[in-house]
């Protein structure tokens, strides 16, 4: 990194750029919420943020610490019950983009947020679990995943499939009857990956400034394919950085 910004800042900015103005976006807390709010405060003022707490069209001017933060209800177009947000809004496919993070992701962009270790009953690490993610990954028109790329997070096969990406490869989403298109892009602190149109394997298509394909390969638990047209991500603009830092200074503030 140049020292002007951190790898995490680059990741959040790159994730925010994935949201187009006017998109209806189902937002998880943490990295996705930061990125979605950065998008809304910069290039996508018309993005519609939906949190699983039932706040539709939330417009927070600071970052919520939790999905139940009062600022979300105070600024929402409407607040609905939890059964309603899942049954009426998510399940029928009314959401454009599902924005998720993960503890593990594999070559077919399947996501694990349940357990680390092969034995579900005796896990090495018990993670929080599914939350809204399985149905977000199934039913949103497309999914954007944001997570740091390390040997622990980028694995050949996730220990537990909490949310389905492309299953075991081509055709699996159709076979399973999943209505959304699945993960369109994965943003990390090293670069940007997209599923190969034929094999559906995550492929490195862009590296962030200062990062290299070798670095990405070294921390990826499978033979990571690199696009022949590998790009370099545009660094954060002065505006993106300024807004991001202002937002991050407000996490959990009242």
């Amino acid at each position: 990194m140049t020292g002007a910004y951190t790898a995490d800042e680059m990741m959040t900015v790159a994730a925010a750029r994935q949201l187009h103005d006017g998109a209806v976006c189902f937002v998880g807390i943490g990295l996705p919420s930061t990125a979605a709010n950065l998008a809304r405060a910069t290039h996508a003022p018309g993005v519609v943020l939906i949190y699983e707490s039932g706040t539709l069209g939330a417009k927070p001017d600071r970052l919520p610490l939790s999905i139940g933060d009062g600022i979300l209800a105070d600024t929402a177009d409407t607040v609905v019950s939890v059964p309603e947000v899942f049954n009426y809004w998510l399940q029928p496919g009314r959401i454009d983009v599902g924005f998720l993070s993960a503890a593990q992701i594999d070559r077919f962009a399947n996501i694990n947020t349940t357990v680390i270790g092969s034995d579900y009953r005796h896990p090495a690490v018990r993670l929080p679990g599914a939350g809204g993610a399985p149905e977000i990954a199934a039913s949103c028109r497309e999914v954007v995943v944001v997570l740091r790329q390390t040997v622990r997070t980028f694995v050949d096969r996730v220990d537990f499939v909490t949310s389905v990406g492309f299953g075991h490869g081509p055709g699996d989403r159709q076979r399973l009857g999943l209505t959304g298109a699945g993960p369109r892009v994965v943003i990390t602190d090293l670069g940007i990956l997209t599923p190969d149109p034929t094999t559906f394997e995550l492929t490195l298509v862009s590296v962030h400034p200062g990062a290299t394909p070798e670095q990405a390969r070294a921390v990826t638990g499978w033979q990571l394919a690199v696009s022949p047209e590998l790009a370099v991500t545009a660094p954060p603009s002065e505006l993106e950085l300024r807004v991001l830092r202002r937002l991050e200074a407000t996490i959990g503030m009242m």
């Binding site: 807390i29 943490g30 699983e52 707490s53 039932g54 706040t55 919520p64 610490l65 939790s66 999905i67 139940g68 933060d69 009062g70 979300l72 209800a73 409407t78 607040v79 019950s81 939890v82 059964p83 899942f86 049954n87 998510l90 399940q91 349940t114 579900y120 005796h122 896990p123 090495a124 690490v125 018990r126 993670l127 929080p128 679990g129 599914a130 939350g131 809204g132 993610a133 399985p134 149905e135 199934a138 039913s139 537990f160 499939v161 909490t162 949310s163 389905v164 299953g167 699996d172 399973l176 009857g177 999943l178 209505t179 996490i251 959990g252 503030m253 009242m254």
Partner: protein, 272 residues
């Protein structure tokens, strides 16, 4: 019904050893004070049910109240792990904790079915995930009209549901607003219910997007100002984000946790 009682009496009336107990509140209006009273009353072998078992269930699990947890997301929202929950699952401390794990959509529909008097709910969910292999209460079902294969989950009909709300009137009608979560369904699905409220008023002034639970649909109401702290009651209090952050350090170590519970819950006031 909707009888106005003290917190102590209300908890004693609705929660017994071995019960299936729901305490809901989707990060807002979490009934912490009632959870603390259950700990003080020494309840054991509870099947705890909650979509997001956050700090209040971490405390109840760490104090040995629970034998089983039915849930969909067990973390400290925005902060990280629930250490007492993890210690119970990973190390069986203070006792083993059986898990019945769902997604949010599945849990919400289980409450909906319970409130509707139906044996199960249908949704598009779980397909392709590893959850059905671990959770017996997730099963495929074929639509009798189209032949499409969907997912069925059984209704939740708890022995008791406890929630916190903004206020009730003198006749025991309850009013809540803001992020309303799944509390209405959870109360209507239960055999017995207790609603703690910030205050009791003569007349309930209408609020935007309010939910009303008529007194005939509930068992008991108790006045517990601040009863949702460190979560919040919109219009009455703010979420204590600092405490959520501090809980990480308090709960990480068994002894630190025990000492904190001794000082702040076991010897705390029933109304605190």
């Amino acid at each position: 019904m909707g009888e106005i009682v003290s917190l102590t009496d209300g908890v004693a009336a609705v929660v017994h050893d071995g019960d299936t107990l729901v305490m809901e509140g989707f990060t807002h209006l979490i009934p912490f004070a009632a959870g603390h009273e259950i700990i003080r009353q020494g309840r054991r072998d509870l099947t705890l049910v909650r979509m997001t078992p956050d700090l209040v269930y971490d405390q109840m699990i760490g104090m040995g109240c629970a034998a089983k947890l039915i849930f969909s997301w067990g973390g400290n929202p925005g902060v990280g792990s629930l250490h007492r929950f993890r210690d119970a699952v990973e190390n069986a401390w203070p006792s083993p904790l059986e898990l019945e794990e769902h997604s949010h959509a599945g849990m919400a529909n289980r409450y909906l079915a319970g409130a509707s008097g139906l044996p199960f709910a249908v949704l598009r969910g779980y397909v392709g995930t590893d959850l059905p292999a671990q959770t017996d209460t997730i099963r495929p079902i074929t639509c009798p009209f189209t032949g499409e294969v969907l997912t069925a989950v059984p209704s939740l009909t708890p022995d008791a549901t406890i929630i916190h709300a903004q206020r009730a009137d003198t006749r025991g009608n309850v009013q809540m607003w803001g992020i309303i979560g799944v509390q209405k369904e959870a109360v209507l699905a239960a055999k017995r219910s207790l609603i703690t409220v910030e205050e009791i008023v003569e007349r309930l002034e209408p609020q935007p997007q309010e939910v009303i639970l008529p007194s005939f649909a509930t068992s008991y109401v108790a006045v517990v100002p601040g009863g949702a702290h460190p979560s919040y009651a919109q219009g009455y209090s703010l979420r204590d984000n600092t405490f959520y952050t501090e809980w990480d350090a308090i709960s990480r170590d068994r002894e630190t946790f025990r000492r904190w519970m001794e000082a702040n819950v076991l010897h705390g006031e029933p109304s605190a």
